[in-house]
Symmetry: C2
Subunit: 417 residues, 2 copies
């Protein structure tokens, strides 16, 4: 690789195209009750039919549908009530022609019954006769075996994140243990001689270690297990030793490098000195976030992401490049397209960054039924604009800018309750 190639900015798409190179983490088995948010490692065919029997979905009477044909208020049909089906039990007898059994919602239909007449269209007479005032079609007010899920059907392909309703259906199927990907372990380093732990009062010229907290919380929010590895001074040997130690027990290494050119160069040199290190990207055509580094390090070819020093830059790089990298490691199938599903209208003109994709923080606001995206501007050294924002809007490469009123996709930072 020549020095010239080395310093060419790579596009976001080029960086994302490197991710399939990294292997997803290993697999573990968990209880269904602990599987919320976990990523299924293998496709899961249904082990049985749900429901497993013909089930009433209304309170009423199990009938042979043919016995009710032509029934009306003026000309009801009459059936003989032969008892009832207790909840959770097998019916004691079948339904013969002209017969019926009471069935509560959720109960099993007796043999030969193929529909349920709802309570409100009937009357019980003192002699044990049922008056039926409406006909039912076969299959009406019942669920057939396998109507919800058929045995062998694959409702859960591998690589999907499990949601509450997924757990509900898996419970119904009797799936109590699941093969899921491990949650990726992420080592989070800060570097910089000016950085002090957050519990300390910084001396003049020093600042607290905010970037590591921000990045670690993003990792946790996205399903990873972050470990704060502390602050490393701007020193080649210290950096190299700290990073090398993390190769042992991390699936991804994040280092929030210094913001000065000198500190960044030092970080780069330390990364290059790691075993089997290869720099895959150094400089990405995004704003903020240009000084990002992506490397592959160690015998297991782990990904290492070097984040810019400015907090807003680091947070944007995490959203734009860190999140899809974590998704890859977590075993999620298919990268989500940038931007998600929220569309809003820009409340002012935005100029783009020539030669780079521009990521603008926005706050969402509803006015007169329209969802507006208000840009929240400010230098990337500030944290408060991020705190005041709900998400990011991208100005694509080669676009001079976006106009007030234009519909834009907004990538939300987080959904919340």
């Amino acid at each position: 690789m020549t020095a010239l190639e080395f310093f060419r900015l790579q596009t976001r798409e080029e960086v994302l195209a490197l991710y399939p190179h990294f292997a997803p983490v290993g697999v573990e088995e968990v209880d269904l009750a602990a599987a919320l948010g976990r990523v299924l490692a293998v496709p899961l065919p249904a082990p049985e039919d749900v429901p497993s029997f013909l089930r009433a979905t209304m309170d009423g009477y199990g009938v042979r549908a043919a016995d009710t044909f032509g029934a009306s208020v003026g000309a009801p049909q009459y059936l003989e009530i032969k008892g009832e089906v207790p909840m959770g039990a097998v019916p004691e007898r079948p339904v013969g022609p002209g017969e019926t059994l009471r069935v509560p919602t959720g109960a099993m239909l007796p043999p030969h019954a193929d529909a349920v007449v709802m309570l409100e269209y009937t009357a019980e007479h003192p002699d044990g006769t049922l008056e039926v005032r409406r006909p039912v079609a076969p299959g009406e007010n019942v669920l057939k075996p396998g109507e919800d899920v058929r045995r062998g059907e694959v409702l859960f392909p591998g690589g999907s994140r499990l949601r509450p309703q997924d757990l509900g259906l898996l419970a119904a199927l009797g799936v109590t243990r699941l093969q899921v990907f491990r949650r990726p372990r992420v080592a989070v380093f800060s570097s910089g001689d000016e950085i002090v732990p957050i519990a300390e009062k910084p001396a003049p010229g020093q600042v607290r270690d905010s970037n590591a907290y921000l990045a670690a919380a993003q990792v946790a929010d996205w399903g990873g297990i972050p470990t704060l590895k502390g602050i490393v001074p701007d020193d080649f040997e210290a950096l190299k030793t700290a990073l090398a130690a993390a190769l042992e027990d991390a699936d991804l290494i994040l280092i929030s490098g210094g913001s000065s050119v000198g500190a960044r160069d030092l970080t780069l040199e330390a990364i290059k000195a790691l075993p089997a290190s290869e720099i895959l990207a150094h400089g990405v055509a995004i704003r903020p976030g240009k000084p990002t580094i992506l490397a592959q390090v160690g015998a297991q070819a782990l990904p290492l992401l070097g984040l810019p020093g400015h907090p807003a830059s680091a947070a944007v790089v995490m959203e734009v490049l860190g999140k899809p990298l974590l998704a890859r490691l977590a075993g999620l199938a298919g990268p989500a397209p940038w931007g998600g599903k929220v569309t809003a209208h820009l409340s002012r003109n935005l100029a783009g960054a020539s030669g780079r994709e521009d990521f603008v923080r926005v706050r969402l606001r509803t006015e007169g039924g329209t969802l507006w995206a208000d840009p929240v501007l400010g230098p990337s050294g500030l944290l408060s604009p991020l705190v005041k924002s709900d998400g990011l809007v991208m100005i694509p490469l080669g676009v001079e800018g976006l106009l007030r009123g234009e519909a834009v996709r907004v990538r939300l930072f987080s959904s919340g309750l």
Copy 2:
């Protein structure tokens, strides 16, 4: 309360209007590293300025801006380099007229310097003179003390859920411990003689306990702490005893009642028999979800939500009524409006439910740049339509239906990575 009033369906809005009646859970103190997703219990004014000193945001030279006025490539200004400011340290000397010090990004500016000239607009001469080819304005390429956050400023009002960037800013402010609301503890009961534990093979007529798993996972997804309290048989004393025991250590009780009228009546009687019990709603004008019960029980006036037996109904009631109830208990300020921020176009006509708000499961699909909502229909006894869906669309009360192509708000079930 007369029997007549008792059976009148309440609207969703009427039920939501009862929630301010319930008190949020108590407060606890947590470490910043454990505060992601927690709800701040009190407004948090900034304890200090961020940054705390005049800080360079570019690599370059700290100058008195006035010394650079008029500088150009053709007619540069010349300054005397008096040394440099090390990262994280206090500058050893001020900048006098005609002087400058090297400053890396993030370093403190020396006294009397009020701007940074970027490296690329300068050249160092061997005699220790700096050639400046562009003027800077006062304040250029620096952050002023308090420019990010001013001491006393309230960026975090009480009742907000903490996101990664919030933790980043709190770290910068040195806030290591936080007063947050406890996570609400939610006791989840199933009832029904037909229900068996998920690890068991149901006999014909029996089904596994899927609703409790679904509801518990929703609670966990929304920040509560669910406890699966198991299956209670359709028996008044057993139900009453089980529910009464939960009053001791829960903030909210959920009971997934039987789906038959008889089982629901039994559940209602057991709820009424609890100490200080008051039924606040019995029947809600939503579809699915009509047989919902809201009660206040026990000396602490805890909320109890009785869910319908059909799984899709229970899941919808949890989204529509359970989630805002949990939000109230969790201390979140201001109920989120129904529907969230995603707008899609309906891919087919939908008929409404006369006299009830109708909640229709939809799957989202992007085609030709348009986001479509495909209704996923099916009886509410099924789980698979929920699994195939991304969210819910509401057909409002009094609306006959929605037309194909109409823009509708979609409430997403979950965001995911």
